[in-house]
Symmetry: C2
Subunit: 275 residues, 2 copies
C-alpha cells in the first residue's frame, strides 16, 4: 500500500513519501476539508457530484484550490491508471496551507490518495447494524471537514453500547451518522433529515431514485422517538451504498427481506452506478 | 525559519523536511492534540505545567505517547540548544497515528517545533482589545485539540465586527477566546469561568497569584450581560500573559491605567516567569 502513487502539492509520489509539512494549518490547526469517492472497475463513481461538493466545501472554508477542476479530474484518472486498483477509494484533501502566524489561510496544498477498499456486495445484506444515539451537532455541518474528533473519540463508548455505529442527534432531532446519512421508512414513505448534516452523494442519488421511481420522499425533521414507528431504517454512504439498521438504542426494528423497500433502493443505486 | 531543527517521529530534521505522513489520522481525520509554551531567555516557561496538560489531553484522547516525559523534556532542551532562539515558542503535537481503516487509533507520532515569537512587552499595554461575542461551544473542551476550524473560519466575521478577537459563549454564558481565557474584575474581585473551556497555564498562574496576594477570586459562570458591570476585563495566554479588553460587542469598558488590578497581575505574572 505504501508504494501507491499519491498526488501531493503538485507532485506524484509513493504514499510512503507523501507528507504534509508540519507548517500546514491542516497539521497545526485541523483546518481542512476532504471528499471521498469509490472506484468500481477502475471507474470513479459520481466524480462530478463529489467534485461539486469538494469545491463547495472549499468555497465555504475560503480555501482557494489552485488546481482547476479539469486538473483534479486528470489527477484522479492518473492515479487510477498508475495504481490499477479496480475497486478502491479516492480521497481528496486540502488544508489551510502554510501560515506565518499559524492562523491566516494561505494557498492550500491538494493531496489525492487512492486506497484499497472492499467493494460492497451485489445484494444488500439483510442483517442490519445497531446504532447508538448520541447528542452532538457537527460544527460547520454543511462542509465535509476533516474533523472526526468526536466520531473517533466515541468509539469505545459505542462498543460499550454494543453498537456498530453512532447516530448523532441534537436534543432528540436526528442529524446523521459520522460517515453516513440516515433514512427511515414509515407508511411506505422514505424520510430523511433536511438540514444540519452533511449531504451525502449517495443521499442525493437516493432522493433522485425515489423521485424517478414514484417512491414518496420527505426531507424533514425526524425525532429519535419517531424512529419507533418506522418499518425500515438504513444509513447511506458512498462506500456501502445502503446498510439496513436493525436496532437504535434499545429499540429493535422489524426484520427486512428481499421484498423490502430498502432492498429495492439498493438495487436501483447499484444500477445507477453502472451508467 | 525552514532550517530550524524540528523533532518528528523520533528524528531531528530541518523544519522544511518535517512532514506528517498522509496516512496519519492527524491529516485524514483531524484527530490530534497539542500544547504550546513560551521560551524566554532560552528557558522554557512552566514546562512541567504544559507537560501535565499535554499528557492529560493525550490520556483523554486515548493517545499513548511513546516518548517518556523525560524524553520530551530532553527534546525541548535539545531544540532550544540547537536553534538558539532565546525568545520563541515551542509547539508539541501528536495525532492518532497511521490507521489501516482510517479510523482506529494507533501509535501517535510526536512532533516538536520551535517557532520565532515576539516576546510580550515588559509592561502591560494599556490599550485594550475589542472582543466580538459568538455562540459556540468547543467540542471536547477540556482537551487542547488541534481543532481551530471555527476560530479560523470566523476571522472574516470578526473583522466585519471591528473586533480583534472572539469571545465564545453558549446561550450567553461566557466560555473562552479561541486561544485565551477570559477574566473580569467586579468590586475588586477577579472572576473567571469555571468550566466548559480549556484551562490555560496562564489562567492557572493567575489563580495562584491571586491566592498568594489575597486578591479575591471566583471561578464561576459569567454571562455576557454581567460583563457590563465589570470595571476591568482581560484575556490570558502563554504568549501575551494578559491583554486588557476595552470593548465587548457594543459595550465599552472603563479605561484602565497603571494602577489597575490587571496591570498589577501582569507584573506578578512576569515576576513568576523569572523564578
Amino acid at each position: 500500500m505504501n508504494a501507491l502513487t499519491t498526488y501531493i502539492d503538485k507532485q506524484y509520489l509513493p504514499l510512503a513519501s507523501a507528507g504534509v509539512p508540519a507548517t500546514d494549518l491542516l497539521v497545526q490547526r485541523g483546518y481542512g476539508i476532504f471528499d471521498y469517492l469509490r472506484v468500481a472497475n477502475n471507474k470513479p463513481l459520481f466524480l462530478e457530484d463529489h467534485l461539486d461538493r469538494f469545491y463547495n466545501s472549499a468555497a465555504i472554508m475560503r480555501l482557494d484550490i489552485t488546481e482547476t477542476r479539469a486538473e483534479v479530474i486528470k489527477i484522479v484518472h492518473q492515479l487510477i491508471e498508475q495504481n490499477n486498483l479496480p475497486y478502491s477509494g479516492i480521497r481528496l484533501i486540502i488544508g489551510g496551507g502554510d501560515s506565518a502566524d499559524g492562523y491566516q489561510i494561505t494557498a492550500p496544498r491538494l493531496l489525492v490518495l487512492q486506497q484499497p477498499l472492499i467493494a460492497p456486495a451485489d445484494k444488500m445484506p439483510l442483517k442490519g447494524i445497531r446504532l447508538a444515539s448520541y447528542d452532538f451537532q457537527r460544527q460547520l455541518w454543511e462542509v465535509k471537514t476533516t474533523d472526526y474528533l468526536m466520531a473517533i473519540w466515541l468509539q469505545p463508548w459505542m462498543k460499550s453500547q454494543n453498537a456498530d455505529d453512532i447516530l448523532y442527534h441534537q436534543a432528540g432531532i436526528v442529524r446523521e451518522c459520522p460517515r453516513s446519512n440516515f433514512f427511515m421508512i414509515k407508511d411506505g414513505t422514505l424520510i430523511t433529515p433536511a438540514t444540519h448534516m452533511l449531504k451525502g452523494i449517495t443521499r442525493k442519488n437516493i432522493i433522485s431514485i425515489a423521485l424517478a421511481n414514484k417512491i414518496k420522499i420527505e426531507e424533514r425533521a425526524i425525532t429519535i422517538e419517531e424512529i419507533k414507528m418506522a418499518t425500515e431504517a438504513f444509513i447511506s454512504s458512498s462506500t456501502k451504498r445502503i446498510t439496513p439498521v436493525c436496532q437504535i438504542d434499545d429499540y429493535i426494528l422489524p426484520p427486512i427481506n428481499d421484498q423490502s423497500l430498502s432492498f429495492k433502493i439498493f438495487e436501483l443505486l447499484r444500477e445507477k452506478e453502472l451508467h
